[in-house]
């Protein structure tokens, strides 16, 4: 029997899953508290022990792979020139690499903005600006500002190729760690985020893991391959496009509802599906990730409460708003609390529903109606996902929830707001065994197996039937 041990060091829990590579089955899953402050290995070994109790043995593993979002994730600041162009391209590159984007900056950096960046303490600054052969002054100005500052992160230059080397020189002469990659926006119509993503990941592997106290774990496992969100995106990409020997599902959307953020990944070109609609703005990456830092079930529960319409929330849950506020404060203060009664379950459900719905609303493209003297014209910004055939739910809350369908319902197109291009009639799937991050890791070594396992374990919600109320 050949086994793989797949590990996800989360901010709260370290999750492990054991995969039987011959049978292509998940044979054990377990979790324990993440112990990154002291010794990251403690939590890992606890989780591994639990998994091995389920197995009834302590086997040898063919692969031991991990991803991590512990110790604050991968912290990036993105700098570009024009907000809708190179700034957006840089942000897309960072998000796709699984980063937490701490801030984005446009045009010439001011002293105040440099101070802001210094105090945000990013691990990487992604410095873009100018298409190839385009604007040179701003990226050079920003390199100089960074050179004079006390910022310590690795600076990745991903702007106008004509001055990339010069920008790097300015930084290295000032003692900064600087690296060059291809421009994130070499031409206006050409988004090029993959090389920057790759370099970000390499920097993550080489320098950041050690700085986060995760290095110890590397003695035991082969390697921490990537940040957790990148693993999820990796899995989603494989599930969508398939690989040699195994077909993918085609276009899909993944909604990952977490404690701190709600992530949405779309794997789709997202071009207009209706005739007479013009696409405007930056081209969209096929694999696109967005992160909502104010939508989460625990760490971000209070900011979620600030975002939502309380009257509507009260109506949806049929629970008095004071009770709602109390529950939200409680879970915010104690992340491991779970709903204890019917009312709390309703609140939890409504929270997840809002997270999913709003995160998808912000992810999808919009249709703008432009009134001309001759009638209406339509302009699309972002991705049209109305025809996307699959929406997949993942994340602790939804995989353990008794009615995941109810939560995912909020991701659907709403006739009352037809300008939001949300999926119209997708099939809902559930990452029932919570394996997407693990499968993103396995995809690096055994893509075909990873894909087949996902197709087996990511199930249609329609087929789930009614799940027991107490699966929590």
């Amino acid at each position: 029997m050949s086994l793989a041990l797949l590990i996800d060091f989360g901010s709260t829990y370290t999750k492990v899953s054991v995969v039987d590579l011959d049978q292509e089955t998940i044979v054990a899953t377990a979790r324990a508290r993440t112990t990154v402050e002291k010794n990251i290995m403690e939590g890992l070994l606890q989780a591994k022990d639990k998994a091995e109790q389920q197995l009834g043995c302590q086997p040898e593993y063919k692969y031991k792979l991990a991803c991590s979002s512990a110790a604050g994730g991968l912290r990036i600041v993105a700098v570009g020139l024009v907000k809708d162009l190179t700034v957006e391209a840089a942000k897309q590159a960072a998000l796709g690499a699984g980063a937490r984007v701490l801030g984005v900056y446009a045009h010439e950096l001011s002293i105040q903005e440099i101070n802001e960046i210094e105090s945000a303490k990013p691990e990487i600054v992604l410095l873009a600006g100018g298409t190839d052969g385009g604007n040179k002054d701003v990226i050079l100005h920003n390199a100089r500002m960074m050179a004079e500052s006390i910022v310590k992160p690795t600076i990745i230059v991903a702007g106008n190729k004509v001055v990339a080397e010069e920008a790097k020189q300015i930084l290295t002469k000032a003692g900064k760690e600087a690296l060059i990659t291809e421009n994130v926006l070499p031409e206006l119509e050409k988004l090029n985020v993959i090389p920057a993503r790759r370099l970000i990941r390499q920097v993550f592997l080489e320098t950041i893991i050690a700085a986060k106290g995760l290095k110890r774990a590397e003695a035991f496992i082969e390697r921490i391959l990537m940040p957790t969100p990148a693993a999820v995106l990796n899995a989603a990409q494989l599930l969508s496009t398939g690989c040699e020997g195994e077909q993918g599902l085609g276009d899909l959307v993944v909604v990952d509802i977490g404690g701190a953020t709600t992530d949405v990944h779309s794997l789709a070109e997202g071009l207009p599906t209706r005739s007479g609609v013009s696409y405007r703005g930056l081209p969209q990456p096929f694999a696109k990730r967005t992160v909502e830092g104010d939508l989460g079930m625990r760490v971000s529960a209070t900011s979620l409460l600030e975002t939502i319409n309380q009257k509507e929330f009260e109506k949806l849950t049929n629970v008095h708003i004071d009770r709602v506020k109390k529950y939200i404060n409680d879970v915010h203060n104690n992340y491991s609390l779970l709903p204890q009664d019917e009312e709390e379950l309703k609140i939890e459900t409504a929270m997840a529903t809002y997270c999913a719905g709003m995160a998808v609303e912000r992810h999808v493209g919009t249709l703008e109606v432009v009134w001309t003297p001759f009638g209406a014209s339509y302009v699309q910004h972002g991705k049209d996902l109305t025809e996307t055939p699959y929406v997949i739910g993942t994340g602790g809350v939804i995989v353990e929830h008794s009615q995941p369908k109810e939560i995912l319902q909020s991701t659907l197109f709403n006739e009352e707001d037809p300008t939001l291009l949300k999926p119209r009639k997708p099939e809902f799937l559930l990452d029932e065994s919570y394996i997407m991050a693990s499968m993103g890791l396995l995809a690096e070594v055994e893509p075909e197996k990873s894909l087949r396992i996902m197709k087996k374990y990511i199930v249609s919600i329609q087929e789930l039937g009614v799940r027991s109320q107490n699966s929590q």
């Binding site: 020139l81 024009v82 809708d84 162009l85 190179t86 600006g129 100018g130 298409t131 052969g133 385009g134 604007n135 040179k136 926006l185 031409e187 206006l188 119509e189 013009s278 405007r280 703005g281 432009v370 009134w371 001309t372 003297p373 001759f374 014209s377 302009v379």
Partner: protein, 142 residues
């Protein structure tokens, strides 16, 4: 043959105008003439012209308007280029700038007063624009 590799041109059809054919022809002609063409296509807003010109360090912005509402759509574009630090970028406009057949001299004056460096009457051939760009940037002819 002209050598003008170093000139970049932002091209687009302004406003809610969907006439795409002329835009493609211009793109092709300007590209053949050796310019770097950044085509932002139809239904382009003023902001999109400006943003494209900033990122690409453009030398010329060529605005097309075919559906007769060019005057409204083009108002304020010059002011925005100044604001965006693009004072040195040349602004050209052409197509069917006004509804129906109006006196061209009057129309041209309107657009020049709006801040355009050159305005072209309906039926202007792409070669005229190419010649003017070369003239404006004094590109040596071989």
């Amino acid at each position: 043959m002209v050598k003008n590799k170093n000139i970049s041109v932002v091209l687009g059809v302004i406003g809610a105008d969907v006439h795409a054919v002329g835009n493609r022809i211009l793109h092709h002609a300007l590209g053949e003439a050796g310019f770097e063409v950044i085509n932002i296509g139809v239904m382009a807003s003023q902001e999109e012209f400006i943003n494209a010109a900033i990122e690409t360090n453009a030398n010329v912005i060529v605005v097309s308007s075919l559906y007769g509402h060019g005057e409204i759509d083009c108002r304020g574009l010059k002011e925005k280029t100044v604001e965006a630090g693009l004072d040195n970028v040349k602004l050209y406009v052409g197509g069917n700038l006004v509804v129906g057949k109006q006196d061209w001299k009057e129309t041209e004056k309107k657009f020049i007063n709006m801040g355009f460096d050159r305005a072209y009457p309906p039926g202007t051939m792409p070669q005229d624009v190419i010649d003017d760009i070369n003239k404006d940037f004094m590109i040596a002819q071989e």
